[in-house]
């Protein structure tokens, strides 16, 4: 007989593992973080008054992952993430990014994993978990406008990072579809 906690939160184990795996980029770390997050969630569960259990759990998973990464980063920068410092200046004259018709030989995943954590998490929550800007804002605890600008910059970075290895296409699919 599953408890209320198990019924509410266990169904989201796949989502929790997915987020941890991409955030930590290491399977063992991800498993440990997920287990840790579930134990934390169990303790906080009496304060959970319904709503989106998956978002609630992912918030805890995300914070657990941050704690773990911070612990590892002994020599890491001490300055907090600054949205303005991390913004590539968008130039009006910037060339159009290439189409991703031939993305096969380019590792989009590598590019995603190399994004700064603050960018990576919003991309994952949007593209993999399908959350709205408002929901991402609640999970990551930043305003909606910040979610939007981080997503925009993250995607720009991905386009930039992927650009050099994208094969120029002579005959481009007019739909720009990734085939």
């Amino acid at each position: 007989m599953p408890t209320a906690f198990e019924a509410a939160v266990l169904p989201h184990l796949d989502a929790a593992y997915t987020l941890a795996r991409y955030l930590l980029r290491d399977d063992e770390d991800a498993r440990d973080a997920v287990q840790d997050a579930y134990l934390r969630a169990l303790r906080y569960f009496p304060g959970f008054r319904g709503g989106d259990a998956r978002a609630w759990l992912l918030t805890i998973v995300r914070n657990t992952c941050r704690t773990r990464r911070r612990r590892e980063r002994v020599t890491a920068r001490t300055a907090p993430f600054d949205d303005d410092l991390h913004s590539p200046i968008e130039s009006d004259a910037a060339p159009l990014p290439p189409a991703y018709d031939h993305i096969g030989d380019v590792s989009v995943r590598d590019a995603v994993e190399r994004l700064p954590e603050e960018f990576r998490e919003v991309v994952l929550l949007r593209e993999v978990h399908g959350y709205s800007y408002r929901e991402i804002g609640e999970i990551v605890r930043v305003p909606v406008g910040t979610v939007m600008s981080r997503l925009s910059r993250a995607r720009q970075r991905l386009r930039d990072a992927l650009a050099p290895s994208v094969t120029p296409t002579a005959s481009r699919d007019p739909d720009g579809a990734a085939v």
């Binding site: 198990e6 266990l10 169904p11 796949d14 593992y17 997920v34 287990q35 579930y38 134990l39 934390r40 303790r43 009496p46 304060g47 008054r49 319904g50 709503g51 259990a53 609630w56 918030t59 805890i60 914070n63 657990t64 911070r70 949205d83 913004s87 968008e90 009006d92 159009l96 290439p98 189409a99 991703y100 018709d101 989009v108 995943r109 995603v112 994952l124 593209e127 993999v128 978990h129 399908g130 709205s132 800007y133 408002r134 804002g137 609640e138 999970i139 605890r141 930043v142 305003p143 909606v144 406008g145 910040t146 939007m148 925009s152 995607r155 739909d175 720009g176 579809a177 990734a178 085939v179």
Partner: protein
């Protein structure tokens, strides 16, 4: 900003709105204006297509994962052994409602900015003033919770008329994708009958269609049935079965094969294409033609198609995903 302002903006000024457009984060009026611009402007349409292609590529290469079985066992065991399962907890851990009430103890750093508790779209809030200038215009256009997006109505009209004349599979495919997009435009267009129960959805079509689509329950395989919709494609009423995959939607269109059409009945094998960043699968079976359309990654859609073609013998009993 009024939506009329969109018409006065340059392509470069509109560029920051393309991602929110794709993400379904623009309000309806802005979305419509931007869609009109996109119909006229190949440069912006191209940018949009590339943005969508990037999204598809990310979803394909960073797919949702399944937790390993041993992790599931580990987590279950850890939960059951934890002493704090006891109902009495210290008051310090009592917290307000989620998700805006995520445990403070789980936060590594205190939030430095006010947390958006309600739907905000005013540019006068402090966080909006912090937004970098080039984003400011787009920020005020945020309609949080606005779902879906729209594109290419002229395109759709042209294709719909073509489909009505019974022209080729490409036109049907385009019409199918257009219908998928239309279904996402507003949630009330997505389904006419909302039910995760195939025994509710299937009879709903009785009397509305001259055929009876097969409706399978794939919730146990991660494709919960959302409902059904009557649609009009290829010059005839068709059944649209709507399935979910996480937050994504799969439209499965079903109608009888037209023996008189040029390509009727010759596609027992599944053919797959991508169009405008959407994956499309087509096959014929049991006298019916099937089209599945979605922005889920190709492997996910292929898994869905396999399940539809060969449904699991006994319905899986695993816990359904509530989303």
């Amino acid at each position: 900003m009024t939506s009329d302002a969109i018409a006065a903006m340059t392509c470069d000024q509109l560029a920051p709105m393309l991602d929110p457009f794709l993400d379904g984060e623009l309000d309806a009026a802005t979305r419509r204006q931007l869609a009109e611009h996109l119909e006229r402007c190949p440069r912006c349409a191209d940018r949009l297509a590339r943005s969508r292609a990037l999204g598809v590529a990310i979803r394909e290469q960073c797919p949702a994962l399944s937790a390993p079985d041993d992790l599931r066992r580990r987590v279950q065991a850890a939960i059951r052994q934890d002493p704090s399962t006891a109902p009495s907890l210290s008051p310090s851990v009592a917290l307000p409602a989620a998700p805006s009430s995520t445990p403070r103890a789980a936060l590594d750093d205190p939030p430095t900015l006010p947390h958006p508790r309600s739907r905000q779209r005013s540019a006068s809030t402090p966080w909006a003033r912090r937004a970098v200038p080039w984003l400011a215009a787009a920020t005020v256009l945020l309609a949080v919770g606005g779902g879906g997006w729209t594109l290419g109505t002229a395109h759709e009209r042209a294709l719909a008329s073509g489909a009505a004349r019974g022209i080729g599979a490409d036109a049907v495919r385009d019409a199918v994708v257009a219908s998928h997009l239309r279904s996402l435009e507003a949630t009330n267009h997505l389904v006419d009958v909302v039910s995760s129960d195939r025994h509710t959805v299937k009879p709903w079509f009785d009397g509305k269609l001259d055929f009876s689509p097969t409706v399978v329950d794939l919730a146990g395989d991660g494709f919960p049935l959302i409902g059904g919709r009557l649609d009009y494609l290829a010059g005839r009423p068709v059944a649209a079965l709507v399935y979910g995959r996480g937050r994504h939607v799969i439209n499965l269109f079903v109608w009888p094969i037209d023996p008189g059409s040029a390509d009727g009945g010759a596609h027992a094998a599944v053919t797959g294409t991508a169009m405008r960043g959407y994956n499309v699968r087509q096959w014929d079976a049991g006298g019916m033609t099937h089209w599945a359309v979605s922005d889920v990654a190709a492997p996910d859609l292929d898994a869905f198609v396999r399940l539809v073609r060969q449904p699991p013998v006994s319905p899986a009993t695993s816990a359904p995903e509530p989303r």
